[in-house]
């Protein structure tokens, strides 16, 4: 996988809100087809980094290249074209509250020229099923769904137009363990069979062990370490040590060991 093309390249990124500096001199590379897990303590700027790469937040300095396009330099049209090639699932779903779930998922499909309404509807139904929601959830409004169901609907919408990269912000937070495991499996499946690149922000160690190919640790305003999970055990930093050697990490690692061996 090391020969694969780099689809996200962040160089020397500096993000700040007023005088509060969130990132400073942050570098990150994501390769095509991999699932990158982004971890870090609460408030270390994982969501902010995701928003910056997806073009939703403007950095104070630095360069972000996404699928070969400079996110910051490109004009409106280039950014618009880019938005059809990525999908974002927000931390709390961010579904349009005035649309049903099916209509929400249809939104990104509306930009495909020549797609009939019937096909669009059928495809949206399929996305909803793919993300693990029952049929009748499609006709409901977001307010009528549980938190976990909203997450799945958010994933269905993020994947609706078969993007090349998806950004997922804590997709398994608030899901039951069985649901979370199914979610992990789904993401791994899609990534491996479609070559989908996944930028996955998570606190969930099980997800990290079950789904991610590589991990990037955010701390001290930058990417402190990036590499495979085994690499993380070698990193000499107290937070990283505690995170990956803590009791929860040990449990997740043990549980996942046979599966990792099979891959």
């Amino acid at each position: 996988m090391s020969g694969a093309e780099t689809v996200i390249e962040v160089r020397d990124l500096r993000m700040q809100f007023g005088r509060h500096v969130v990132h400073d001199g942050l570098d990150l590379d994501v390769r095509r087809g991999e699932i990158l897990g982004v971890v870090g303590g609460s408030g270390t700027g994982k969501s902010v980094l995701l928003r910056a790469i997806a073009g939703l937040e403007r950095p104070a300095a630095g360069r972000i290249t996404l699928l070969g396009t400079d996110v910051l330099a490109g004009d409106e049209a280039a950014r618009e074209a880019l938005s059809h090639r990525i999908g974002v699932m927000f931390q709390d779903g961010a579904l349009f509250s005035s649309l049903t779930v099916v209509e929400n998922v249809e939104v990104p499909l509306r930009s495909v020229a020549g797609l009939s309404a019937e096909t669009r509807h059928g495809l949206a139904r399929f996305r909803i099923a793919l993300s693990g929601l029952p049929w009748n959830a499609g006709d409901k409004y977001p307010a009528e769904l549980s938190g976990g169901m909203r997450k799945r609907a958010g994933l269905a919408r993020a994947l609706a137009h078969d993007p090349e990269i998806v950004f997922l912000d804590e997709p398994t937070a608030g899901l039951d363990p069985i649901g979370a495991a199914a979610f992990d499996a789904l993401i791994r499946d899609l990534s491996h069979s479609l070559g989908l690149t996944v930028f996955l922000v998570t606190h969930d160690l099980d997800t990290l062990y079950a789904a991610c190919d590589r991990v990037a640790v955010l701390a001290e305003k930058r990417v402190l370490a990036a590499g495979t999970l085994d690499d993380m055990l070698e990193v000499d930093h107290p937070w990283v040590q505690e995170y990956f050697r803590g009791p929860r990490a040990r449990a997740a690692r043990k549980e996942d060991a046979p599966r990792t061996g099979m891959r």
């Binding site: 096909t119 495809l123 793919l130 307010a143 069979s193 479609l194």
Partner: protein, 375 residues
């Protein structure tokens, strides 16, 4: 490699119903594929050849498999052949996720549906009325508790709401009443002059402002300003489950949110009404002086002689009632907000309409009442 250039090739194969896909086939090719597949029927054999396809995405896989399903339902068959490993894996992933439509009970139609709708409307209205009474009762009960144990009264909140709903409303209320006074004097003078009865313009102004317009228009302005802000404030707390959080922390929402708000209105609306009365009389007097030459001294004299104090009493009696109506409607609408921002907006505007309507209806009832008791 990008999506825009990913268009694969779609060619008709050897047979009547056969298609061959090659290259990287994706969502952008779907309209084309759909239009080719739409005419296919189950009677003849059909085949899709994927041997040239390096990659397909899930949209295409879904389209192929749903066509296959459709043909199987019709008793035919669609063979999908030549898929390489990665394409086969996608087809398999998609096959497992194909949605199964749920069979739902059909909804009612025609007369039954209409009847159901009417029934629901009636029940909703009755429930809204019950909820109004509920909040009113809650307010009275908590107020009584505050009388027994004054320490439970949230004094800071009360003062804050008095400032917000009362003091801040003084400029707009005074300006409005001043202008109304001017209009009354001007119109009254024009009507009374032909009869040489200009001096009665003082009674016209004073009685209509003290008895009706001062307090009614003040209440309407306060309904627009304060009912909406009460609904928005309580509603947004309800939306974010803050009210539930209060309950679990042992704070009584009635005591903390409702009593200070409604009580502030009950205290401030009469004062605002007085301000409006003064401003209205001032505006009317000014216009009478400029337009009819009735000097301020004469205006005051006629005012004292010709206008019974009962007019002021009648106006002021209404004030606390209007205040309770506005406050209860505003708070109750806030408590009915659901968990979406939309319902917050809907309830806010509904609260304003309901509060203004209630004030006008109550004013009409008061007119009848005072007429009957002869005030």
């Amino acid at each position: 490699m990008s999506k825009a250039q990913a268009a694969g090739r779609i060619e008709t194969g050897a047979g009547e119903q056969s298609l061959s896909l090659s290259g990287e086939v994706g969502l952008a090719d779907l309209p084309e594929i759909e239009s080719r597949l739409s005419g296919w029927h189950a009677r003849a054999p059909a085949e899709i050849d994927l041997s040239g396809a390096g990659r397909i995405d899930t949209s295409v896989a879904w389209a192929l498999l749903s066509t296959a399903d459709r043909m199987e339902d019709g008793g035919g068959q669609l063979a999908i052949v030549g898929a390489n490993d990665s394409v086969a894996r996608i087809l398999e992933t998609v096959r497992q996720a194909m949605p199964v439509p749920a069979t739902e009970a059909p909804g009612r139609r025609g007369f039954a549906a209409w009847l159901e709708r009417v029934g629901r409307e009636v029940v909703d209205t009755a429930q809204a009325a019950a909820a109004f009474t509920g909040v009113l009762g809650l307010f009275v009960a908590r107020l009584a508790r505050c009388v027994i144990r004054p320490r439970e009264l949230r004094l800071t909140a009360l003062v804050h709401h008095c400032q917000d709903a009362g003091v801040r409303a003084v400029p707009i209320v005074a300006l409005m009443a001043f202008l109304i006074g001017i209009v009354l004097a001007f119109q009254g003078a024009a009507q009374l002059r032909p009869f040489g009865a200009e001096v009665f313009v003082v009674e016209l102004i004073s009685i209509s402002i003290l008895r009706e317009l001062g307090i009614l228009l003040t209440a309407i302005i306060v309904a627009g300003r304060t009912a909406s802000s009460y609904t928005a404030a309580i509603g947004s707390m309800k939306m974010r489950q803050e009210i539930d959080a209060m309950r679990t922390l042992g704070i009584d929402p009635g005591q903390a949110l409702i009593v200070p708000r409604i009580l502030a209105l009950v205290l401030m609306l009469p004062i605002l009404g007085l301000v409006a009365n003064l401003a209205g009389l001032f505006g009317g007097g000014l216009m009478a002086w400029l337009e009819l030459g009735i000097s301020p001294a004469m205006f005051v004299t006629r005012l004292a002689e010709g206008t019974d104090v009962s007019n002021l009493t009648v106006g002021m009696i209404k004030a606390p009632v209007f205040a309770v109506l506005i406050g209860v409607i505003g708070c109750e609408a806030g408590l009915r907000v659901g968990d979406t921002a939309e319902s917050l907006g809907r309830m806010t505007s509904a609260a304003v309409v309901a509060a203004i309507f209630a004030v006008i209806v109550a004013d009409a009832l008061f007119s009848i009442f005072f007429e009957q008791v002869g005030m």
